[in-house]
């Protein structure tokens, strides 16, 4: 069964690149451009994995992460956080919020694809 991936980012170009990468890997992809839309789509589509940007309008990535992780109905949703803020505290904060993995921008496409595979294989 094809895994579903939700890409959440407010940067158009990054969305384009991520979408291309994930589709190439054969995943089913949907897109959200802010935190509120992301939560709505996660509830509606129950994706297997969310590629989640941290700095976004309306609702930040950390909030989205916290909301998803505290909802038992969304237990199966993995979260990979992507951020342009590379400081250690940010990473620690993300992991504390329950993110399953964390990558800083700019990322290596290979690493990202591997990480996504890894996260989805754990199922």
């Amino acid at each position: 069964m094809t895994k579903k991936i939700l890409i959440v980012d407010d940067e158009q170009n990054i969305v384009i690149s991520l979408e291309f990468l994930m589709k190439r890997e054969g995943y089913e992809v949907s897109v959200a451009s802010d935190g509120e839309e992301a939560v709505a789509r996660i509830r509606a589509e129950q994706p297997d994995l969310v590629l989640l940007d941290v700095m976004m309008p309306k609702k930040g990535g950390f909030e989205v992460c916290q909301e998803v992780k505290s909802d038992a109905a969304l237990k199966g949703v993995r979260i990979l956080m992507l951020t342009a803020k590379g400081r250690d505290t940010e990473v620690a904060k993300g992991l504390a919020m329950g993110a399953d993995a964390y990558m800083t921008k700019p990322f290596s496409t290979k690493d990202l694809v591997e990480k996504v595979r890894g996260l989805l294989a754990e199922h």
């Binding site: 407010d10 990054i14 803020k85 921008k105 700019p106 990322f107 290596s108 496409t109």
Partner: protein, 922 residues
């Protein structure tokens, strides 16, 4: 007609009641539940000021002098309101050094001088004995009136021998009372609680009695105040009583002198000093007294004029003696019981005065006249009687009896003479002589013993010459010719026109000359030589009494050596062994020493012993006694100054230390503030760096992702490939722009930007900017309108920078206008000294919460999905530029209604000079 027996019985019953009150107060004091330890009692006891002379005499004065009775009351009222700080200082000094009389106060201040104490005691004695006589006379004539021993005009007829004279018995009873309650203990600083309670009680009685008579006259005999006054005004002679001029005295000068006299006497009369200072329990009580006492004076004066006018209207002028209206008005109208009450009120006023005055004067006589003489007797020194308390009490009791008998004697001898009648003010003038030495001593360090002696002696002599002798002459005891022609026939020595001074009444005249001579001699003789060591040390202890115990002021100036074994028996000789052990044990406990014998005989202990003795025998005698058992180093002025210098150095050091620690604290605060500022700057820098990092990473992320994808996958079709490469290029451009703007921003903020100022034509600049961005708007399908005036004045600024602002605003507008329906309007206007540019678009507008933040770095507005390419630095940089030229950049917007970005630049003036100044610095 009241019977003599009844009156005597009532009088004695009243005196017995006083005994009971005093006894009760004393017993309560013994139980530690003092009745006088409250401000009301204190304030009422001060009303001992109102004697029989004022009780009966003020009506008399009002009847002859109209409003002239007032100064006697205005003075104390003013005195208490204005000088309570002075009285407070006197209380503090007296308590600290156990001072028990005015004589002791002055003697102690000027180096503990026996001579000075003696002189003050004599002045007090001479000034007050006739005054006491006056009280006895008041009682006696009141008695005579009541029992009907008077002529048709209510003048008392004096008959009878000494042995039949009730006045003598009254004097003796008063002496007994005074002895009983005034000399129970030896230490005079131990307050006479019973006496004070009795005096306060008497103050109430005399007030009630006087008010009763006043009410009777005003509302019983007349129809109230209005009736009396309107009837008095109808009488030409009486109407003149209401004006100063009409009463014949010396006008405003006389008023002033009289008020001053009364003001001084309320502080310096021996009895006032006794109740206000010596008997004061708590300094706080003074506050209440500053209004209660004046209120009392007001209350007891309300009916003075009505009674005086009533008497004059009913009896007719020149008939009955106005001094006795208080008694004769009720008597003449058959109100014998009211007359009896009035008599009891007068009795109260008289006895209160006599008791307190006698105690005060006898303390002076004992400590400052008799003790010094005793100390000079070798026999007294050698006969080392271990307990002299009995002797001391004996002396004091003898003095009380002697003073009262002297008063009685004067009363018998002077009788109706002028010398007695006018003694009230004459006494006031005598005690006014204490004022320079007292006040000078409390506030001026320079006063010396010789100065005080000279001043007091000069003032006293002039007082005697200008007031006392004339009063004797008017009584017929002296040849009155020297009044007319002056001493030895020298006209300028006429006592009541001394040195030709005329136009003053005799009291003002005497007050003027005696105080002038007093102050003059005091100051002149004082400055002739510098104070001795002892004078200087006492001066410091008195003047700086409020600083006592604080760093820098020594508690005593004594230097030498002494033995506890000598000091104890010495104090015990005068205080008694039991009390001595009590006070020394308390002193030892305070210092944490277990036994009295273990006390160290240092300066502090010697000072303590001397102070204890001073309470019993006066400070001068105490000094003599202590020096007889201790080996002392005589202190010269130099030593005193050294001690004071050391003290003031300590004070200076501690002051410096305080200053330094304050400075240190301030510096610490400043550092803390600076540190916080740095921290804040650091945080801002971190935020900035973090933002910049984020802004750099975002395009980098796209660039890297697409590059890797293109590199990894050569299979990507051409269209895809071209699209990806386009993205890479535009992201690279974005990066470049960002780097440039960050650098630009940093330059402007750090002040390192270069400004190339010239006279620019803003109209041309705006047109040029619109031309430059025309393609942008064409791409979006937007229309640009220009609303520009024909011409505007040039302004001095950097052309390229202003252009940068214009381009930024226009390109923002281009980004936000709706596709194909965009309308942008550019307007330029002159507003006073400003040129203003508005760029209005019909975009989505800016939500209120973004109106401020869009000018902050990296805070772009708008919906993020449709957010155009931008670095988030354009507006902050524009704002910095406009502000650099002294202008302002702002935005007005309503969501959905488009936005208007405006900036205004000053024409010439500030912008130019600010920019010029900036350039010069660079």
């Amino acid at each position: 007609m009241l019977s003599g027996g009844l009156i005597v019985s009532v009088s004695f019953a009243y005196l017995l009641l006083l005994f009971a009150v005093a006894h009760f107060a004393d017993r309560r004091a013994g139980e530690g539940r003092s009745v006088i330890a409250n401000p009301w009692t204190y304030a009422l006891s001060l009303a001992v000021y109102c004697t029989a002379w004022t009780y009966f005499g003020s009506v008399g004065r009002a009847a002859s002098g109209g409003v002239w009775f007032l100064p006697i009351y205005l003075g104390p009222t003013l005195g208490f309101a204005l000088s309570w700080l002075i009285i407070l200082k006197m209380i503090r000094i007296a308590k600290t050094y156990r001072i028990t009389s005015i004589a002791d106060f002055i003697a102690s201040r000027y180096g503990k001088s026996h001579l000075l104490g003696g002189l003050v005691s004599i002045i007090a004695l001479v000034g007050t004995v006739p005054y006491i006589a006056l009280q006895l006379k008041a009682i006696s004539s009141g008695y005579a009136l009541l029992i009907g021993e008077h002529d048709g005009a209510y003048r008392p007829i004096h008959t009878g021998s000494w042995m039949q004279d009730s006045t003598l018995y009254i004097a003796l009873v008063l002496a007994a009372f005074t002895v009983f309650f005034g000399t129970r203990h030896l230490d005079a600083t131990e307050r006479h609680e019973g006496m004070v309670a009795a005096v306060a009680f008497e103050s109430v009685v005399k007030l009630v009695a006087f008010l009763a008579v006043g009410l009777f006259v005003t509302y019983g005999l007349f129809d109230g105040f209005g009736d009396i006054f309107s009837r008095a005004f109808a009488d030409a002679e009486l109407a003149s009583l209401f004006t100063l001029a009409g009463t014949g005295d010396a006008g405003y000068g006389g008023w002033f002198a009289m008020t001053l006299l009364a003001m001084l006497s309320v502080i310096f009369l021996p009895r006032q000093f006794q109740v206000a200072v010596v008997e004061n329990v708590n300094e706080q009580h003074l506050r209440r007294a500053t209004w209660v006492f004046p209120a009392y004076m007001l209350a007891i004066n309300i009916f003075v004029l009505p009674i005086a006018l009533g008497g004059l209207l009913l009896f007719g002028a020149g008939q009955a003696d106005p001094d006795t209206y208080v008694l004769t008005l009720p008597l003449a109208h058959g109100q014998e019981w009211l007359a009896l009450l009035a008599f009891v009120g007068g009795l109260s006023a008289a006895t209160g005065m006599v008791i307190v005055e006698t105690i005060a004067v006898s303390t002076m006589v004992c400590n400052d006249l008799v003790m010094p003489l005793l100390l000079r007797l070798r026999r007294f020194k050698e006969a080392a009687d271990p307990d002299l308390t009995g002797l001391l009490l004996g002396i004091r009791r003898g003095a009380i009896l002697a003073v009262l008998l002297l008063g009685y004697l004067y009363f018998r001898l002077a009788g109706e003479a002028y010398a007695l009648v006018s003694i009230g003010l004459i006494s006031f003038a005598a005690v006014a002589q204490f004022a320079p030495a007292m006040l000078g001593g409390m506030y001026w360090r320079g006063g010396t013993r010789d100065g005080a002696l000279a001043g007091l002696a000069a003032g006293f002599l002039l007082w005697a010459y200008t007031l006392m002798l004339p009063s004797f002459a008017k009584s017929g005891w002296l040849d009155a010719s020297f009044l007319e022609h002056g001493l030895f026939g020298l006209a300028w020595l006429r006592p009541e026109q001394l040195f030709g001074l005329q136009g003053l009444d005799n009291i003002s005249h005497a007050l003027f000359w005696s105080l002038a001579a007093n102050i003059g001699c005091y100051v002149l003789v004082s400055v002739l030589r510098s104070p001795t060591g002892r004078e200087a040390s006492q001066a410091t202890l008195f003047v700086d009494v409020f600083q006592r115990g604080q760093a820098g002021l020594p508690a005593s100036f004594w230097r030498g050596s002494a033995q506890v074994a000598d000091l104890l028996p010495l104090v015990a000789r005068f205080l008694g062994t039991r009390r001595t052990m009590e006070v020394f044990s308390a002193y030892a406990r305070e210092r944490g020493v277990a036994r009295v014998e273990d006390l160290k005989a240092d300066a502090g202990l010697v000072h303590f012993a001397e102070t204890q003795l001073a309470g019993a025998i006066g400070s001068a005698s105490a000094r003599v006694m202590v020096s007889s058992v201790a080996q002392e180093e005589p202190l010269g002025l130099d030593e005193v100054m050294n001690i004071l210098d050391e003290a003031s150095q300590v004070r200076a050091y501690s002051h410096q230390l305080e200053e330094k620690s304050r400075a240190l604290e301030a510096a610490t605060d400043e550092l803390r503030r600076a540190n916080e500022q740095l921290k804040e700057l650091d945080r801002l820098k971190d935020d900035f760096m973090s933002s910049v990092t984020h802004e750099l990473r975002t395009p980098l992320t796209s660039i890297r992702a697409f590059s890797e994808m293109l590199l990894d996958d050569p299979q990507i079709d051409l269209a895809e490939r071209t699209r990806f490469l386009g993205i890479i290029v535009s992201e690279t451009e974005r990066l470049t722009r960002l780097v440039n703007q960050v650098l630009d921003m940093a330059k402007i903020e750090s002040g390192h930007a270069e400004w190339h100022n010239s006279d620019i034509d803003l109209r041309a600049l705006v047109e040029h900017a619109v031309d430059t961005t025309a393609q942008l708007f064409r791409d979006r399908g937007a229309r640009v309108e220009q609303d520009l005036p024909e011409s505007v004045p040039t302004l001095r600024a950097d052309h390229d920078r202003v252009m940068q602002v214009m381009l930024n605003l226009l390109s923002n507008a281009a980004k936000f206008v709706p596709q194909d329906e965009g309308r942008v309007r550019v307007a330029l206007r002159r507003e006073g000294d400003l040129l203003r540019v508005d760029v209005t678009d019909n975009g989505p507008g800016i939500p209120p919460e973004f109106l401020v933040v869009i000018f902050e770095k990296f805070r772009q507005g708008g919906d993020q999905r449709s957010r155009p390419q931008g670095t988030g630095l354009g507006l902050p940089i524009s704002k910095q530029i406009v502000e650099h030229f002294g202008g302002r950049l702002w935005v007005v917007s309503t969501p959905g209604g488009g936005a208007t970005f405006s900036f205004a630049l000053p024409l010439g003036g500030r912008g130019e000079s600010a920019a010029a100044a900036h350039n010069e610095i660079e």
